[in-house]
Each structure stands twice: as C-alpha cells, then as structure tokens.
Amino acid sequence: MSQENSRQFSAALSEEFEAVRLRYLDTMETTIIELDALLGAIGRPDVQERALEGIRFRAHKISGTAETFGYPRMGQLAHQVETAVDQRARLSASGPTKQIEALVETLLVEMEQTLDARVYAPQAARV
C-alpha cells in the first residue's frame, strides 16, 4: 500500500469509527430510557428479578464498550452495577437492592451527561 493509499485507508477507518460512535450514542438514549424503566420496576416484587437481570445485561454491555469510545468512568460505573447485581444473586436472591439502585442512578447521570456533552473523546483507543 502506498503512503497516500495508507493515509486514505486510515482516514476511512477514522470516519467509520466516528460513525460507530455516533450510532453508539444514539442507542445510549434508548438504553437510558430502558434502564430508567427497569430501575422503577425494582420496587415491584412480581418483576424485581427480571428487572435486575435486565439491568445487569445492559450494564454488562456498557462496561464492555464505553471505554472504547473514551468514556472510562461510564464503563467503570456499569461494571460496578453488574458486579453488585451478581453479588446479590450469589449471596441472597431476596437481599436489599438499595445499593444497586444508587449505582444505577449514578450510572444514569453519567450517561445523561455524556449525551449532553456529545464531545468526541480523543482518548478513545481501545476496542
């Protein structure tokens, strides 16, 4: 590949990465709405377990990708949520959910702030 071709290839990849990042931010809006609804459902005993599983699933996905796009704090918070849900399941399925709820609320604030800022994070370097 010539130097010019190589430069064009890199530029094309950067464009593709930016397109993926924008799609990611679009889906984040949906994820916020879903997480908010699941958070509200935790208080209902008939759907609590399903709500927690839904929260864990979404947190797991966020923790695996957020850092890639330059949002390490969001990734860490999501990982904390996932770990807290897993720990509760291991210790006692009917245990308290207060800590999980607090962590989800912190995560939601972080996600909303990210969407508000919508600033490209140049430190994104992990896949």
Binding site: L13, E16, F17, V20, R23, Y24, T27, F57, H60, K61, S63, G64, T65, E67, T68, G75, H79, E82, D86, A125, R126, V127
Partner: protein
Amino acid sequence: MKILAVDDDETHRDLLALALKQMALHDLKLCDSGESALMELTQEATPYECFLLDIDMPGMDGIELCRRIRAMPKYELAPIVMLSGLSDRVHIEAAFDAGASDYLTKPFDELELSARLYLARKHGQQRRQFARVRAEIEDVRTELGKKKAFTLATPLELEDVAGSIEYLALENFLLQTSEKLAAVDVIAVKIVNVEEIFQKTTTSEFRFAVNSVGDAIAETLRLRQYFMAYAGNGQFPIILRDGLGIDPETFSADLACNAEELEIRTTRGEILVPQLVVGSGMRNGFIPRKANLRALASAIDDAEECAARIAASQASSGKGKHGAIDGLFGWLKAS
C-alpha cells in the same frame, strides 16, 4: 484467515469489524447469536480458520457455542478465542473446559487482539500440520514401526482424560488468572524414564503410556478442581484451582497407589513401567499474571530436577536400566 465472530452487541460487532479491517483481516463473518452462528457453520462452503466468541449472550451463550463448535470434527483443531467483559474466574474456567484456546477480556486494545489472532493462526497451522502428519503416520503405522510423528519434546493432547486441556490452553489459562483471583497451586509430575519409553515404543504405544499416566493423575485428583496437560518430555504440569493447596508427599503416595499396575507392553513383548516423580509444587496467587507462567516453568523444572536425581541415583546403583523397574515412586524434596 477466515474468521467467524459472534457477539449479540451490535456496537461490539462494528468495533470488531473495524479492528480486524485495520489488521487487514477482511475475511470476516459476523453473527449476532449462537444459534445463527451454528446455522452459518452448516451452510458455509469453506471452513473457518478462527472463531471469536462473546460469552455473555442471550439464548445460547458463548461457552455452549464453543462446546458445539469443538464437537464438530472439522473444527476439532480450530483456534477459538473467547471474548467477554466478565473477568470472573468461573467463566474463564468454563470457557477452557468447553475447549477454548484463548480468552480476551473486553475492552481489549488492538495490539492485544492482533497478537492473540497471530498466535491463534500460528497455533491453528501447527495443529493442522500435526494432524496431517499424525494421519499419515497412522496410515503406515505398521511399516513405520517405532518411528514417531512427534519428538520427545512435543506436547500431546491427552485423550479422554478428566481435567486435561492442551498445554497451550493451560498457559493461556494462567495468563488469564489475574491478581484478583484466588490462589492456584501449580505442581508437575514427570515420567523419569520417558526417554527409554519413547525409544522403545511405537507412536500409539507412547500415546497410550502418556494417557495412562494422565488417567492415574486424574484418578488421584478426582475430588479436586484442576487442569492438567502433557507438556512433552514426560512432564504433566497441573494447576489446582480450588485454592485448597496440595501436599506433594501425600499426592505422590496417592499417585503411586493409582499407578501401581501401570505398564506398557510393546509390540516386541517388552514390559515398560513408567516411573513417576512429583515436584515440590508452587503456590501462586495475588501476583502479576506473567508470574503465573514463571510458576508453571518452576514447577516443571522442579520435577525435572527430581527426575534427574533419581536417574543419577539409578545409574550409580545399576538399577533402572533396560526397563527393569525398581518400583521407585518418589517425591523428592527440592532441597
């Protein structure tokens, strides 16, 4: 390299495609579930050379998918790299149990992904090459007599031995055992007279000998959680992952009982008895990942030293020559 990547997360599929494109790996097929991946595998014309599987997927998870792919004869030797955001020990162990060759924790950087794919490709080529040679050797086994499809130092896959995985997978498991995880114990068993057995047996007889020793070790550890492999040169490194520790002396005595009637009859009618020695073992945990590999190497070296002492002692006393076995099953202190 033809790659099949399976991940239910669209963003992650996009990122994987991008990363592989950057590595000039364009022959990539993406699937969004285990079920669709299996469907793809029944339809594809040319086999895939490498698999990247997400673990945590709704429906069929990556571990079950790995097990099913590994069960397909044409993918018996294919490299399977597991991808997951979970750094949980249970998932890592389950993945290797299901036949995974390697494991990557998300998010991973391109350099790491590139290095793992390079290793996967190299490993896959070696395994295919070895399988070809093995098949050829099997075809003309009677004519070849004692010629081997492998050298004394070649790691072999133990067949149907409980807790056994490939040696490379064993190394990868240790690399993935981070400091967050509980301690593991690493110990090694060595066949002292492996050179003699190697020289006097055919390919299948040597394999039988190695498998028989593997079975004896598995029987000794039947109540424990462990992985073991055959690393070549008569060495069986073992990783005990239940954190219960191990007393090499007791282990050695139990192994001696289970291997009491172990013998290999050669086609020439000679009876060979493997002499086993157990190293003093290394406890590991809460330390950097690469130190785990050093512990593995130390455990192997330790068993090797013990075996050398036994061999030297036999040579000076005139015992142990020409397959005459004195029944020595020794655990020797490393000192």
